[in-house]
């Protein structure tokens, strides 16, 4: 009956909210439950290594140049065959990212010629001081692979002359 509209409208509204009470809550109980991340999620940076344990980063600072927030600081040093960190001539002796400046755009990832820097899946980045937000190379680099040796390595001369490896097109 249209005359009862002022009442039925209210009742309909009440019914809607009551029915929604019995739906499954959408809440994710965060620290215990975590939603799976998307494959292309951009979290904290990770510095990668090769299979043999050498660092991929060659200290070229292209990431620092690409960074729109100027969050990356790279200082390169010379590799020698007695103290080899990465293939080629140079390695990053200092690599710092200020995670408070970083906007997680992933330009560093794109700029990197050796795919050394990758935005990982860690997003729980809370700091109690500004100095804590500056991640050094030791904090960013991934642990050496089980069968590889840690850096610096003593290598046979003439084996690692090429800084940038042969690369395939990336697949997600």
């Amino acid at each position: 009956m249209p005359v009862l509209e002022p009442l039925t409208g209210l009742v309909k509204g009440l019914w809607t909210t009551l029915a929604s009470m019995f739906e499954k809550p959408v809440t994710v109980q965060y620290p215990e439950q975590k939603k799976p991340l998307r494959p292309r999620f951009r979290g904290r940076h990770i510095l990668k290594r090769y299979e043999n344990g050498l660092e991929k980063c060659i200290g070229c600072a292209l990431c620092a140049a690409a960074c729109p927030a100027d969050a990356i600081f790279v200082e390169a040093s010379e590799n020698t065959d007695e103290m080899r960190f990465s293939p080629g001539e140079r390695y990053a002796s200092t690599y710092e990212i200020n995670l408070l400046r970083c906007i997680y755009c992933g330009f560093c990832e794109d700029a990197c010629p050796t795919e050394a820097i990758v935005l990982g899946d860690q997003y729980e980045l809370a700091f109690t001081g500004r100095s804590q937000a500056i991640y050094s190379k030791e904090m960013l680099i991934e642990a050496g692979p089980a069968h590889g040796k840690p850096t610096p390595q003593v290598t046979t001369p003439g084996l690692f002359t090429r800084s940038v490896p042969e690369m395939k097109n990336p697949v997600d």
């Binding site: 249209p2 005359v3 009862l4 509209e5 002022p6 009442l7 209210l10 509204g13 009440l14 809607t16 909210t17 009551l18 929604s20 009470m21 739906e23 499954k24 809550p25 959408v26 809440t27 109980q29």
Partner: protein, 371 residues
Amino acid sequence: MNFTLVIEWLAKGFVWVLVLLGGFAYLTLYERRALARIQVRIGPNRAGWQGILQPIADAIKLIFKEELMPAQADKLIFFLAPVVTLVPALVITAVVPWGPKPLHLFGRDITLYIADINVGVLYIMSVTSIAVYGIVLAGWSSNNKYAMMGGLRSSAQMVSYEIALGLSFVSAILLAGTMRMTGIVEAQKTNWFVLLQPVGTAIFLIATLAEVNRAPFDMPEAEQELTAGYHVEYSGMKFALIFMAEYDKMIAISAIGATLFFGGYNGPFIDQFPWLGPIYIFLKIVLLLFGMIWVRATFPRIRYDRLMAFGWKVMLPLSLAVVFITAIGIILAQEVNALLIWLIPVASLLAGFVAIALMYRTLRRKEYARA
């Protein structure tokens, strides 16, 4: 006056105030959890088991918060206003009976109410009227235009809806033939007044929403328009007192509604097991509180002029009609046939239907005028 009697009153009053204050704390949790469920969330469940310690955490936070007082505020009234709001909310339920038979404790019969005065309903009406002072004074003494407007809105709204509220009380009084709260509960032993006077109950429920400034009638504390209304300038424990008053008013009004229209402590097997009385009234209060939360979760705040129009042009005439219908029905039942008492719900539902139809017509007319 005997000394033990004074002790008994003090103890009962103390226990009752503690119940109300604890009830306030857990009502906040209840409301947050219920609202969350309606919004398909979970709500606070971290502090303690299922969030059971959340009110304590809130209380600690509020106690340690800084108390600010505006420089231009009327200091004394600013300080007194929360107290003036809280005290009526606490004392109002003194007349609500909790159980049929006195409790036998320490060799004394302890009645399950604090005061059984013969003008119980009148007492409730007068105390609720005092509650408005606290809000108006809080708004005025803050020396803030938003607070002032909140206080003014609150007073206008409360005065308008108090009439409908009072008239809905009258129908309960007429049906029971007494103003004594215990008498009203006893009169509902067979039929709850919600069955005899459904429209009166509806008027009561709507008017109480306006009386305690709950959504959809929460204009005095409309966040979007008045930032927070009459308590903008309050912080820390003074804000907690105002908040407490608001929630205790909700509890009080639910207790009164349960007593006047939903049979009070009456329920199945009450005669065999009198201890069921407090449980029944507690359940009824919880259900009525859920109703308030439910309504808050459902309806948007109505416009101020519509609120006033609804109060004066719908609620007041309808409640007057309900009082007349109740009176006539009672006379017919007494003089002609006892079964004619059932004319009251039929006729009042008819009156309610007429009111809704007239509202529909007005709304339609306004739509045409706009088109």
